[in-house]
Subunit: 158 residues, 2 copies
Protein backbone atom coordinates (compact mmCIF):
# COMPACT_ATOMS: atom_id res chain seq x y z
CA UNK A 1 0.00 0.00 0.00
CA UNK A 2 1.35 3.45 -0.87
CA UNK A 3 0.97 6.43 1.39
CA UNK A 4 0.30 10.01 0.24
CA UNK A 5 3.67 11.59 -0.51
CA UNK A 6 5.09 8.32 -1.81
CA UNK A 7 6.77 8.90 -5.18
CA UNK A 8 4.94 5.98 -6.78
CA UNK A 9 1.56 7.47 -5.82
CA UNK A 10 -0.39 8.86 -8.76
CA UNK A 11 -1.98 12.29 -8.40
CA UNK A 12 -4.50 14.06 -10.61
CA UNK A 13 -1.61 15.77 -12.44
CA UNK A 14 -0.21 12.37 -13.47
CA UNK A 15 -3.17 11.61 -15.76
CA UNK A 16 -3.76 12.89 -19.29
CA UNK A 17 -6.93 12.71 -21.39
CA UNK A 18 -6.64 9.69 -23.68
CA UNK A 19 -4.50 7.59 -21.31
CA UNK A 20 -5.71 3.99 -21.26
CA UNK A 21 -5.28 1.24 -18.65
CA UNK A 22 -6.08 -2.43 -19.29
CA UNK A 23 -7.16 -5.04 -16.75
CA UNK A 24 -8.17 -8.69 -16.67
CA UNK A 25 -10.86 -9.79 -14.23
CA UNK A 26 -10.79 -12.72 -11.80
CA UNK A 27 -13.49 -15.23 -12.89
CA UNK A 28 -16.48 -16.04 -10.67
CA UNK A 29 -17.73 -19.65 -10.59
CA UNK A 30 -21.39 -20.77 -10.58
CA UNK A 31 -20.99 -21.42 -6.85
CA UNK A 32 -19.70 -17.88 -6.26
CA UNK A 33 -22.54 -16.42 -8.35
CA UNK A 34 -25.12 -18.31 -6.27
CA UNK A 35 -23.44 -17.39 -2.96
CA UNK A 36 -23.36 -13.70 -3.87
CA UNK A 37 -27.02 -13.78 -4.96
CA UNK A 38 -28.11 -15.40 -1.69
CA UNK A 39 -26.49 -12.55 0.22
CA UNK A 40 -27.29 -9.53 -1.94
CA UNK A 41 -29.72 -10.15 -4.82
CA UNK A 42 -31.84 -13.29 -4.37
CA UNK A 43 -33.57 -13.37 -7.75
CA UNK A 44 -34.08 -16.86 -9.09
CA UNK A 45 -32.04 -16.50 -12.30
CA UNK A 46 -29.02 -15.69 -10.09
CA UNK A 47 -29.71 -18.53 -7.62
CA UNK A 48 -31.03 -21.60 -9.39
CA UNK A 49 -29.27 -23.15 -12.39
CA UNK A 50 -32.27 -25.34 -13.34
CA UNK A 51 -34.70 -22.42 -13.27
CA UNK A 52 -32.22 -20.15 -15.08
CA UNK A 53 -31.83 -22.67 -17.93
CA UNK A 54 -35.52 -22.28 -18.87
CA UNK A 55 -35.54 -18.48 -18.37
CA UNK A 56 -34.89 -15.57 -20.72
CA UNK A 57 -31.10 -15.81 -20.33
CA UNK A 58 -30.80 -19.58 -21.00
CA UNK A 59 -28.59 -20.22 -17.99
CA UNK A 60 -27.28 -18.93 -14.69
CA UNK A 61 -26.22 -15.26 -14.77
CA UNK A 62 -24.55 -13.12 -12.13
CA UNK A 63 -26.34 -10.30 -10.34
CA UNK A 64 -25.49 -7.01 -12.01
CA UNK A 65 -24.09 -5.89 -8.65
CA UNK A 66 -21.64 -8.80 -8.75
CA UNK A 67 -20.72 -8.03 -12.37
CA UNK A 68 -19.88 -4.52 -11.20
CA UNK A 69 -17.59 -5.87 -8.46
CA UNK A 70 -15.94 -8.33 -10.87
CA UNK A 71 -15.26 -5.54 -13.38
CA UNK A 72 -13.96 -3.03 -10.83
CA UNK A 73 -11.96 -5.57 -8.75
CA UNK A 74 -8.66 -5.20 -10.64
CA UNK A 75 -9.15 -1.42 -11.07
CA UNK A 76 -9.50 -0.93 -7.32
CA UNK A 77 -6.68 -3.36 -6.43
CA UNK A 78 -4.17 -2.51 -9.16
CA UNK A 79 -4.80 1.15 -10.01
CA UNK A 80 -6.92 3.10 -7.53
CA UNK A 81 -5.00 1.75 -4.56
CA UNK A 82 -1.97 3.69 -5.88
CA UNK A 83 -3.95 6.85 -6.69
CA UNK A 84 -4.31 9.75 -4.22
CA UNK A 85 -8.06 9.17 -4.28
CA UNK A 86 -10.23 11.34 -2.01
CA UNK A 87 -13.60 9.80 -2.84
CA UNK A 88 -15.69 8.19 -5.52
CA UNK A 89 -18.30 10.62 -6.84
CA UNK A 90 -20.64 8.23 -8.61
CA UNK A 91 -21.41 6.44 -11.85
CA UNK A 92 -22.98 7.78 -15.03
CA UNK A 93 -24.67 5.71 -17.74
CA UNK A 94 -23.81 2.34 -16.29
CA UNK A 95 -25.12 -0.32 -18.70
CA UNK A 96 -25.17 -4.08 -18.38
CA UNK A 97 -25.18 -5.04 -22.06
CA UNK A 98 -24.76 -8.80 -21.68
CA UNK A 99 -25.08 -10.97 -18.61
CA UNK A 100 -21.99 -12.30 -16.84
CA UNK A 101 -21.96 -16.11 -17.00
CA UNK A 102 -19.95 -18.47 -14.76
CA UNK A 103 -16.16 -18.55 -15.22
CA UNK A 104 -15.96 -15.77 -17.81
CA UNK A 105 -12.80 -13.68 -17.89
CA UNK A 106 -13.46 -10.08 -18.91
CA UNK A 107 -11.05 -7.62 -20.40
CA UNK A 108 -11.54 -4.12 -19.04
CA UNK A 109 -10.19 -0.96 -20.58
CA UNK A 110 -10.52 2.45 -18.99
CA UNK A 111 -9.78 5.64 -20.90
CA UNK A 112 -9.25 8.99 -19.18
CA UNK A 113 -11.86 11.43 -20.55
CA UNK A 114 -11.31 14.55 -18.40
CA UNK A 115 -8.93 16.00 -15.82
CA UNK A 116 -10.66 18.97 -14.14
CA UNK A 117 -9.16 21.13 -11.41
CA UNK A 118 -11.46 22.21 -8.61
CA UNK A 119 -12.03 25.96 -8.51
CA UNK A 120 -12.98 26.09 -4.84
CA UNK A 121 -10.39 23.57 -3.53
CA UNK A 122 -7.07 23.89 -5.39
CA UNK A 123 -5.62 20.75 -3.77
CA UNK A 124 -7.94 18.48 -5.74
CA UNK A 125 -9.94 17.89 -8.88
CA UNK A 126 -12.03 15.38 -10.81
CA UNK A 127 -10.55 12.52 -12.79
CA UNK A 128 -13.14 11.16 -15.24
CA UNK A 129 -12.82 7.93 -17.15
CA UNK A 130 -14.98 5.75 -19.37
CA UNK A 131 -14.90 1.97 -18.92
CA UNK A 132 -15.56 -0.88 -21.34
CA UNK A 133 -15.65 -4.50 -20.16
CA UNK A 134 -15.62 -7.14 -22.92
CA UNK A 135 -15.89 -10.92 -22.98
CA UNK A 136 -13.40 -13.19 -24.78
CA UNK A 137 -15.39 -12.78 -28.05
CA UNK A 138 -14.92 -9.00 -27.75
CA UNK A 139 -18.60 -8.39 -26.98
CA UNK A 140 -19.31 -5.53 -24.60
CA UNK A 141 -20.60 -6.79 -21.24
CA UNK A 142 -20.64 -3.54 -19.25
CA UNK A 143 -19.89 0.13 -19.82
CA UNK A 144 -19.88 3.04 -17.39
CA UNK A 145 -18.55 6.60 -17.02
CA UNK A 146 -16.81 7.25 -13.70
CA UNK A 147 -15.86 10.56 -12.04
CA UNK A 148 -13.48 10.32 -9.06
CA UNK A 149 -12.15 13.06 -6.75
CA UNK A 150 -8.35 12.93 -6.65
CA UNK A 151 -5.63 15.01 -4.92
CA UNK A 152 -3.31 17.20 -6.95
CA UNK A 153 0.46 17.01 -6.50
CA UNK A 154 1.50 19.61 -3.94
CA UNK A 155 4.29 20.87 -6.22
CA UNK A 156 1.80 21.22 -9.08
CA UNK A 157 -0.55 23.29 -6.91
CA UNK A 158 2.13 25.54 -5.39
CA UNK B 1 -40.25 -16.82 -3.99
CA UNK B 2 -43.02 -16.09 -6.49
CA UNK B 3 -43.11 -17.64 -9.93
CA UNK B 4 -44.26 -15.86 -13.11
CA UNK B 5 -48.02 -16.26 -13.35
CA UNK B 6 -48.44 -16.01 -9.59
CA UNK B 7 -51.15 -13.50 -8.73
CA UNK B 8 -48.94 -11.71 -6.19
CA UNK B 9 -46.24 -11.15 -8.82
CA UNK B 10 -45.98 -7.51 -9.91
CA UNK B 11 -45.80 -6.80 -13.65
CA UNK B 12 -44.96 -3.60 -15.49
CA UNK B 13 -48.70 -2.82 -15.69
CA UNK B 14 -48.95 -2.85 -11.90
CA UNK B 15 -46.79 0.29 -11.52
CA UNK B 16 -47.86 3.91 -11.97
CA UNK B 17 -45.69 7.01 -12.25
CA UNK B 18 -45.47 8.61 -8.82
CA UNK B 19 -45.82 5.37 -6.84
CA UNK B 20 -43.37 5.33 -3.93
CA UNK B 21 -41.89 2.45 -1.93
CA UNK B 22 -39.98 2.86 1.34
CA UNK B 23 -37.28 0.63 2.74
CA UNK B 24 -34.97 0.47 5.77
CA UNK B 25 -31.45 -0.89 5.32
CA UNK B 26 -29.63 -3.48 7.39
CA UNK B 27 -26.66 -1.79 9.14
CA UNK B 28 -23.06 -2.79 8.40
CA UNK B 29 -20.56 -2.83 11.28
CA UNK B 30 -16.96 -1.58 11.16
CA UNK B 31 -15.89 -5.23 10.91
CA UNK B 32 -18.19 -5.80 7.92
CA UNK B 33 -16.92 -2.62 6.26
CA UNK B 34 -13.30 -3.77 6.67
CA UNK B 35 -14.07 -7.33 5.49
CA UNK B 36 -15.85 -6.05 2.38
CA UNK B 37 -12.97 -3.67 1.60
CA UNK B 38 -10.40 -6.46 1.89
CA UNK B 39 -12.29 -8.46 -0.70
CA UNK B 40 -13.42 -5.78 -3.15
CA UNK B 41 -11.96 -2.32 -2.60
CA UNK B 42 -8.76 -2.32 -0.49
CA UNK B 43 -8.28 1.43 -0.08
CA UNK B 44 -6.93 2.40 3.30
CA UNK B 45 -9.85 4.61 4.41
CA UNK B 46 -12.10 1.53 4.03
CA UNK B 47 -9.64 -0.82 5.79
CA UNK B 48 -7.87 0.90 8.65
CA UNK B 49 -9.74 2.79 11.39
CA UNK B 50 -6.59 4.53 12.70
CA UNK B 51 -5.57 5.76 9.25
CA UNK B 52 -9.15 6.76 8.41
CA UNK B 53 -9.42 8.90 11.55
CA UNK B 54 -6.64 11.21 10.29
CA UNK B 55 -7.91 11.23 6.67
CA UNK B 56 -10.31 13.53 4.82
CA UNK B 57 -13.42 11.69 6.09
CA UNK B 58 -12.45 11.70 9.81
CA UNK B 59 -13.21 8.03 10.32
CA UNK B 60 -13.81 4.67 8.70
CA UNK B 61 -16.15 4.80 5.71
CA UNK B 62 -17.60 2.02 3.58
CA UNK B 63 -16.57 1.43 0.00
CA UNK B 64 -19.09 3.05 -2.35
CA UNK B 65 -19.69 -0.44 -3.78
CA UNK B 66 -20.74 -1.64 -0.33
CA UNK B 67 -22.96 1.43 0.18
CA UNK B 68 -24.66 0.47 -3.08
CA UNK B 69 -25.28 -3.08 -1.82
CA UNK B 70 -26.52 -1.81 1.56
CA UNK B 71 -28.97 0.58 -0.14
CA UNK B 72 -30.27 -1.95 -2.69
CA UNK B 73 -30.41 -4.92 -0.28
CA UNK B 74 -34.00 -4.41 0.89
CA UNK B 75 -35.14 -3.36 -2.60
CA UNK B 76 -33.86 -6.59 -4.13
CA UNK B 77 -35.11 -8.78 -1.27
CA UNK B 78 -38.47 -7.14 -0.56
CA UNK B 79 -39.59 -5.65 -3.89
CA UNK B 80 -37.71 -6.87 -6.98
CA UNK B 81 -37.95 -10.48 -5.90
CA UNK B 82 -41.73 -10.19 -6.40
CA UNK B 83 -41.46 -8.30 -9.71
CA UNK B 84 -41.47 -10.06 -13.10
CA UNK B 85 -38.03 -8.64 -13.72
CA UNK B 86 -36.25 -9.63 -16.95
CA UNK B 87 -33.00 -7.78 -16.37
CA UNK B 88 -31.39 -4.73 -14.87
CA UNK B 89 -30.46 -2.22 -17.55
CA UNK B 90 -28.06 -0.02 -15.63
CA UNK B 91 -27.73 3.03 -13.42
CA UNK B 92 -27.87 6.70 -14.31
CA UNK B 93 -26.44 9.58 -12.26
CA UNK B 94 -25.45 7.50 -9.26
CA UNK B 95 -24.04 9.88 -6.63
CA UNK B 96 -22.46 9.11 -3.27
CA UNK B 97 -23.23 12.37 -1.46
CA UNK B 98 -22.03 11.40 2.02
CA UNK B 99 -19.98 8.42 3.12
CA UNK B 100 -21.60 5.46 4.83
CA UNK B 101 -20.22 5.10 8.37
CA UNK B 102 -20.38 1.99 10.60
CA UNK B 103 -23.80 0.93 11.95
CA UNK B 104 -25.84 3.59 10.12
CA UNK B 105 -29.42 2.73 9.21
CA UNK B 106 -30.53 4.36 5.97
CA UNK B 107 -34.04 5.13 4.84
CA UNK B 108 -34.52 4.49 1.15
CA UNK B 109 -37.39 5.81 -0.94
CA UNK B 110 -37.89 4.90 -4.57
CA UNK B 111 -40.35 6.78 -6.78
CA UNK B 112 -41.54 5.41 -10.12
CA UNK B 113 -40.63 7.96 -12.82
CA UNK B 114 -41.63 6.18 -16.05
CA UNK B 115 -43.47 3.09 -17.31
CA UNK B 116 -42.57 2.60 -20.97
CA UNK B 117 -43.86 -0.21 -23.20
CA UNK B 118 -41.37 -1.76 -25.61
CA UNK B 119 -42.26 -1.15 -29.24
CA UNK B 120 -40.35 -4.15 -30.61
CA UNK B 121 -41.25 -6.65 -27.83
CA UNK B 122 -44.84 -6.16 -26.61
CA UNK B 123 -44.42 -8.61 -23.73
CA UNK B 124 -42.13 -6.20 -21.84
CA UNK B 125 -41.14 -2.63 -21.11
CA UNK B 126 -38.97 -0.41 -18.98
CA UNK B 127 -39.78 0.51 -15.38
CA UNK B 128 -37.75 3.56 -14.30
CA UNK B 129 -37.39 4.79 -10.76
CA UNK B 130 -35.38 7.35 -8.87
CA UNK B 131 -33.89 6.45 -5.50
CA UNK B 132 -32.98 8.55 -2.47
CA UNK B 133 -31.14 7.05 0.50
CA UNK B 134 -31.01 9.23 3.64
CA UNK B 135 -29.36 8.92 7.04
CA UNK B 136 -31.22 9.34 10.36
CA UNK B 137 -30.66 13.13 10.18
CA UNK B 138 -32.43 13.16 6.80
CA UNK B 139 -29.21 13.95 4.90
CA UNK B 140 -28.96 12.39 1.45
CA UNK B 141 -26.31 9.65 1.35
CA UNK B 142 -26.89 8.25 -2.15
CA UNK B 143 -29.12 8.96 -5.13
CA UNK B 144 -29.48 7.09 -8.42
CA UNK B 145 -31.87 6.68 -11.35
CA UNK B 146 -32.61 3.06 -12.25
CA UNK B 147 -34.18 1.60 -15.41
CA UNK B 148 -35.23 -2.08 -15.22
CA UNK B 149 -36.72 -4.33 -17.92
CA UNK B 150 -39.94 -5.90 -16.65
CA UNK B 151 -42.55 -8.26 -18.15
CA UNK B 152 -46.05 -7.01 -18.92
CA UNK B 153 -49.12 -8.87 -17.71
CA UNK B 154 -50.21 -11.29 -20.42
CA UNK B 155 -53.83 -10.13 -20.14
CA UNK B 156 -52.70 -6.50 -20.51
CA UNK B 157 -50.79 -7.34 -23.70
CA UNK B 158 -53.52 -9.50 -25.30
Amino acid sequence: LLLPGDQAMKYLDDFTVGDTFDFTTVPASAEQIIAFAKQYDPQQFHLDEEFARTGPHGGLIASGFQTLLIVFGPIMRDLMNDVANIAGIGFDKLRWLRPYRPDQVLHVRITITAVTHSRSKPDRGILAYTLEARDSDDNLVMTVDVPVMVQRRQDAVA
